[in-house]
Amino acid sequence: MPHIQLNESLPGIRALLAFSPHTAAPLGALANTLLRSDNGLTPAERELIGAYVSSLNDCFYCQHSHAAIASCYLSNNTELVNQVISNYHTAPVSGKLKALLCIAGKVQQSGRNVLPADIDNARAAGATEHDIHDTVLIAALFCLFNRYVDGLATVAPTDMNSYRQRAKQVAAMGYGSHVYTSQQP
């Protein structure tokens, strides 16, 4: 049961965004800017970073929401998404993405844990300065989202198909107020 009274028909962060629209607006803008951009990293890679950090923070709702969105962008290759989340080292993804996931994992622990060697590894694997910047900020942003969602004990649906349905909605329309004002998929 959530720690505060929320709209029961809305799952996870959607109920919080509806509770507080004036903070929902910049949070939605951040998500759109960081996760929907195809400048350097693809939207799929960005969502994979978000899902991975959410799994490290043990946030069920965010992990499964963003894993499902990543799958949407990857022709429904959920096996690949699951491999990245459970052990990216052995997943069939680029060396660049692996090096960036390593940085994201450090950010999840603490900003101070990111070392020059981690940055050098990412550069050597082909990451640009902008890729590194976006990875750090995406990982930091999910340390916000995960704490917001679990810190207020929001409800996470257990019907996994509902994550796939909402993912299609986000992949098509992006983030924004429609996620809490429209009918829930």
Partner: protein, 182 residues
């Protein structure tokens, strides 16, 4: 030295915001909405929550920026802010603020750490649902800002008076649309 070339010599998050204006805008809008918009928690109280979380995350830049702004609003000096960071339970704060700082500390560790008992304690001390919501989101937001600032290895002025001197200007102008270079 920052981990990437920011092409500017601004300290802390300002260097990152100059480097990436498209993310700076919503980051600043979020700070404005959380820390300055009309609220039953005063601006000073909200800055104090931000300061405390930043100190728990050991982020020198953020805890000094927001500590100085909190001191500006609350009419207290840096030693008084430091005392809150070290032991808020012994500080001259309301029972409600102490309960909210307790929730913020749990959020800093992890969202799942927030217990029903901590929420009940805040409610019994007079905190509203909105105040509890805002406390959780301020604490979560600073778990982001702190990681951004330190994860990119930005530089921070070491003289703490630098932050005290800048606080009145930030308090007056707010976060939404300020000149990063001033």
């Amino acid at each position: 030295m920052a981990h990437i070339n920011l092409h500017n010599d601004l300290p802390g998050i300002r260097g990152l915001m100059e480097y990436s204006p498209e993310t700076a805008r919503p980051l600043n809008d979020l700070a404005e909405a959380l820390l300055r918009a009309d609220n039953s928690l005063s601006r000073g109280e909200r800055e104090l929550i931000a300061t405390y979380v930043s100190s728990l995350n050991d982020c020198f830049f953020c805890q000094n920026v927001h500590g100085a702004i909190a001191g500006h609003y609350l009419n207290c000096d840096i030693p008084a802010i430091d005392a809150v960071k070290q032991d808020y339970l012994s500080a001259p704060l309301s029972a409600k603020m102490k309960a909210l700082l307790g929730i913020a500390a749990l959020v800093q560790k992890g969202g799942k750490q927030v217990t029903t008992a901590a929420i009940t304690a805040a409610t019994e001390a007079g905190a509203t649902e909105k105040e509890i919501h805002d406390t959780v989101l301020i604490a979560a937001a600073f778990c982001m800002y702190n990681r951004y600032v330190d994860g990119m290895a930005t530089w921070a002025p070491q003289n703490r008076q630098f932050y005290v001197d800048r606080a009145p200007q930030r308090a007056a102008e707010g976060y939404a649309d300020y000149d990063l270079h001033k």
